[in-house]
């Protein structure tokens, strides 16, 4: 039985890795096509029909491209930074549940049916794990910025550090309300607790704070000050080229996927299709493939939102970013948690 379990774990890990990397590749294409659509251009449409082979061409180019390490760079950290950033971005996906699970006998190979969970690791402190891993991602960016030994990189790295730690506070605060309503840190339990109503409705303020903070944590516009191209060239990855640059890029898009998946898990009802009423009596143990479809559909919508926002809203100034984080979102997060806990204590006992 142990061997079956390990084998299934390997299959799940391979599947998740494959899906995430493909998704990241096609997100870059989606970003370029959608931005082209928004700006009334065509976008890349030459490689394959509608440009669908463009990510492959990009990948091949990244691998074969000459790699340049600046002469003054701190080499070990310079090489380590992109790998660190990518690893911390992908590992956070391990605890995200995309559905409940199903029984299988592996086409009759096993005597007893084996229950496969649609999640790599069902950790009971899942939410804490995600928070811990996503806060580690600041190291990749800062190390990359510092070790390049270029002024633009250093500025980008410093900005990234200050911005990411500032918004981490409001991110943590906005999650507390959800934990109180669900009574657990396991992401499965949190999704289950939303069967009657999505937490985005009773926790509307928390959802808003979480969403804005996660846009800032992923360094996406309107908060992409760490790589603001009109000011500091490309920020922390100015000096990076070839595969190392690609890894920073992949890390950024993986962060978007993690942020979207977390938003779906915590506030948008996970695998429940509508804000009310759960599955309306559909037996999801039998039709086990329905929850993942719903979950991934919601993630896709949020990813589209990320891209849509990027090409619609202009960039903030850095002092405005810090002001928003410390003087608006942080107090709002505290207010949200006080109100939520007061309602819990006085109304629901």
């Amino acid at each position: 039985m142990l061997w079956v379990e390990i084998g299934i774990s390997f299959v799940k890990i391979a599947l998740v890795l494959f899906v995430v990397l493909t998704l990241v590749a096609y997100l870059t294409l989606a970003e370029r096509r959608i931005s082209a659509f928004i700006q009334d251009r065509l976008g890349p449409n030459r490689v394959g029909p509608f440009g669908i082979l463009q990510p492959l061409a990009d990948g091949v180019k990244f691998i074969f491209k000459e790699d340049i390490i600046p002469d003054r760079a701190n080499k070990p950290f310079y090489v380590m930074a992109p790998a660190l950033s990518l690893v911390t971005a992908i590992v956070a996906l391990a605890v995200i549940p995309i559905g409940k699970g199903f029984n299988t006998t592996l086409f009759g190979l096993l005597e007893d049916p084996f229950y496969v969970k649609l999640q790599i690791a069902d950790v009971n402190a899942g939410l804490l794990f995600v928070l811990a891993i996503t806060s580690l991602s600041v190291y990749g960016v800062v190390l990359g910025g510092w070790s390049s030994n270029s002024k633009y990189s250093l500025l980008g790295g410093l900005r990234a550090a200050a911005q990411m730690i500032s918004y981490e506070l409001s991110l943590g605060l906005s999650i507390l309300g959800v934990i109180l309503l669900a009574g657990s840190l396991r992401l499965n339990d949190i999704v289950e607790a939303q069967q009657k109503i999505w937490f985005a409705i009773p926790q509307a303020l928390g959802f808003l704070v979480f969403m804005v903070s996660s846009f800032a944590e992923t360094n996406r516009l309107p908060f992409d000050l760490p790589e603001a191209e009109p000011e500091i060239v490309a920020g922390y990855h100015t000096e990076y080229s070839s595969m190392k640059f690609a890894m920073f890029f992949m890390a950024e898009y993986t962060h978007m996927i993690v942020a979207s998946a977390l938003m779906v898990c915590l506030f948008l009802g996970g695998w429940y299709p509508l804000p009310f009423g759960g599955w309306f009596g559909i037996d999801i143990e039998r039709y086990w493939y329905l929850p993942p479809i719903v979950f991934i559909g919601k993630v896709f919508f949020l990813l589209f939102l990320f891209i849509w926002v990027r090409w619609t809203i202009p960039r903030f100034r850095y002092d405005q970013v810090m002001k928003l984080g410390w003087k608006v979102l942080f107090p709002l997060g505290v207010l949200n948690i006080i109100v939520t806990s007061a309602v819990m204590v006085f109304v629901y006992k």
């Binding site: 890795l17 691998i63 391990a94 943590g172």
Partner: protein, 121 residues
Amino acid sequence: MVSYINLLLFFCIVLLFAVGTLILAKLIRYQDPNFDPIKIQPYECGEDPVGDAWIRFSISFYLIALIFVLFDVEVAFLFPWILSLSKLGLLAFIEMLIFLSILFLGWLYAFKKGDLRWERQ
């Protein structure tokens, strides 16, 4: 326990993937045998770089980092509290209100001192 083993397995495989990609790229990419050393200068808009890049930077970054450490510890305290609030009830709520008001006082102090203000003279 099994879930933590899965977690470790996932971490190892992702790490292997990241390192493997870097090594693969190193093995098969084109490397110009006689490249111009000017190519590996740090980028500075086409000029020769002036001075060291590890310059002194604004004190604001240190202040933000310090304030962050303080408040993040307090947020970390809130996690176990919120998990057991439904069992502990009113007393825990009042205690946390006191705790949060001290947190608020600290925030107000930083606000008044101007440590949260980015633009400086």
